[in-house]
């Protein structure tokens, strides 16, 4: 399998304010030496409880969190680039390749923009389109994520949580990325809607040949969608492997705890 992204010993640390005048504070290692590889076309899950550093890992890959150590290799044909060493300008082309779906659908859409404007933002950055083709493209994206194209001129607050998450997905797909980081895309949603969004992501992945890092705190969700998964706690990956095997046969006590935490009916 050809590797798309290879993370080695990634570290992200934030200073913690302490002492008078903010001096004498230590650092918190949100991500503490994480390594993994994702192959092209694969969905890899990343589970862990709240505060374990999942979001920070995802954000570090697309430079929304400051990388303080390690490397992130991105494979593009024969080229191999270490994303961690790029300047802001050098990183720009990778923004088109790597996109993120955010955790909170109520916070990730600008309340003052219509859906059309929201979808136009990525289109305006990368594609020089006239108004008509932008509209056409936006309608295509709406259909792609299972929304009514005629709702393009509504505002985000007129949609439900699940629909908003679909809009967030459409926005990420607008730039035609090859790698998508889904940061707990369903944890803010009703259980009944969760399955729909997960199936949508799964369908889109095979349709558009995407690679996906799927973050969740619910191990059952990750098991369902991903072929491989990694278990993270306190900034470290403690166990990883093929999803089904790992869930059937957890070795690390923390993984066992996560599995036990899944409600059974």
């Amino acid at each position: 399998m050809d590797t798309l992204i290879k993370v080695e010993n990634l570290r992200v640390s934030y200073p913690v304010a302490g002492g008078l005048f903010g001096r004498g504070g230590g650092v918190v290692n949100a991500v503490d030496g994480v390594s993994f590889e994702i192959s092209r076309g694969e969905i890899v899950g990343l589970v862990g409880e709240s505060g374990s550093g999942k979001t920070t890992t995802g954000r570090a890959i697309i430079r929304l969190a400051p990388v303080s150590g390690g490397s992130i290799f991105y494979f593009d044909g024969k080229n191999k680039t270490d994303l961690a060493t790029l300047s802001k300008r050098e990183f720009f082309p990778f923004r088109k390749k790597i996109q993120m779906i955010f955790q909170d659908p109520f916070n990730s859409l600008d309340p003052r923009m219509t859906i059309f404007k929201i979808l136009c933002e990525p289109l305006d950055i990368y594609f020089k389109l006239d108004k008509k083709s932008k509209l056409k493209r936006a309608e295509e994206l709406m259909e792609l994520v299972g929304l009514e194209p005629s709702h393009l001129f509504r505002f985000p607050h007129e949609f439900s949580g699940g629909q908003r998450q679909r809009i967030g997905i459409a926005r990420a797909l607008a730039v035609q990325p090859e790698f998508i980081i889904c940061d707990e895309p369903v944890s803010a949603l009703d259980v009944s809607v969760q399955a729909q969004i997960i199936n949508l992501i799964s369908d889109l992945r095979s349709k558009l040949n995407l690679t996906c890092l799927f973050i969740a705190h619910d191990i059952a969700v990750v098991e369902h969608i991903s072929s491989r998964m990694m278990v993270m706690t306190e900034g470290k990956i403690v166990e990883s492997g093929v999803s089904a095997e790992l869930c059937a046969n957890p070795r690390h006590p923390y993984t066992r705890r996560l599995i036990d935490a899944v409600p059974k009916f």
């Binding site: 990730s108 600008d110 990368y126």
Partner: protein
């Protein structure tokens, strides 16, 4: 253009959502227009004296009476209102411009710069600004422009704090992160997300700044440092009225009534707007 029209319509719908605030708004609108076109509405020129009648009580020719120089009080209220409103709006514009820019720059700067800029505001807050303004007036003389600038310079501080807080809040929202992840640059994020989400707050602050500016102007005029005679402002009218309070109470009562009513209405409208869901301004 279409968006600002929509915002204006939404604004009106908020103001008129209860009768009381609606009435306040209408009162303000009428008074503002009457003051702006004082030449048409005022029965006399503002400086026309009639020493023969002196301070006379309200009658058919002079519905609010005349002052000691025989000048029509109603006329002077309209012209005085023009100055007071002008100072109110112009100084507010200055305050909003300086305050909003300062607050925004502070919020978007690195942490150290931000806290340095905010400490500066704290220090400026602690200065006895009224005295400073009075000193400025004494040094540079009493010009209308100086009043605008001086008052604006005092009022921007609050604005700066509010806008900074709001910008920090918007900046941390996920849609700004998403925009960054899409490859949007700094100015794009400003134009598309930060500014549009700030406008409502700035607008509300501005409506609440106007009355406090007008009050400050009247205070300066009351001290004799404001608008120069024979040009009236509500502050000078109230001051003159207070001097002859016992002999000619109408000289105090009518200007004071219009002034207080205006301040009340401005505050009422501002409070209503700030209580409203600000999201409505964009729809």
């Amino acid at each position: 253009m279409k968006a600002s029209l929509r915002a204006f319509r939404a604004l009106l719908s908020v103001v008129f959502s209860d009768r009381h605030t609606g009435a306040c708004f209408i009162f303000l609108a009428i008074l503002c227009l009457a003051c702006m076109f004082a030449e048409f509405f005022a029965p006399y020129p503002f400086a026309e004296q009639n020493l023969a009648i002196g301070a006379s009580a309200p009658c058919a020719e002079h519905i609010f009476g005349t002052d000691i120089l025989g000048r029509d009080v109603f006329t002077r209220i309209l012209y005085g209102g023009r100055i007071s409103f002008a100072v109110g709006f112009a100084a507010t514009a200055v305050a909003v411009l300086i305050g909003a820019c300062y607050g925004m720059v502070s919020a978007l700067s690195p942490r150290r710069v931000d806290s340095a800029m905010m400490r500066l505001v704290d220090i400026a807050y602690a200065l006895p600004f009224t005295i400073l303004v009075i000193l400025l007036m004494i040094i540079f003389g009493r010009s209308l422009w100086l009043i605008f600038v001086a008052i604006g310079a005092v009022e921007w501080l609050t604005m700066a704090r509010i806008v900074r807080g709001m910008t920090l809040d918007i900046k941390s929202r996920q849609f700004v992160l998403a925009s960054e992840a899409l490859g949007q640059g700094f100015w794009g994020i400003m134009r598309l997300h930060i500014l549009p989400n700030l406008i409502g707050t700035i607008l509300v602050c501005a409506t609440l700044t106007v009355p406090s500016v007008m009050l400050l102007e009247s205070f300066l005029s009351f001290l004799g440092l404001g608008v120069q005679a024979p040009l009236p402002s509500w502050g000078t009218l109230v001051k003159e009225g207070a001097e002859y309070m016992l002999d000619a109470p109408w000289m105090l009562v009518f200007p004071a009534f219009f002034f207080s009513a205006t301040l009340y209405c401005l505050n009422r409208v501002g409070a209503k707007l700030s209580a409203a869901d600000l999201r409505r301004f964009s729809k």
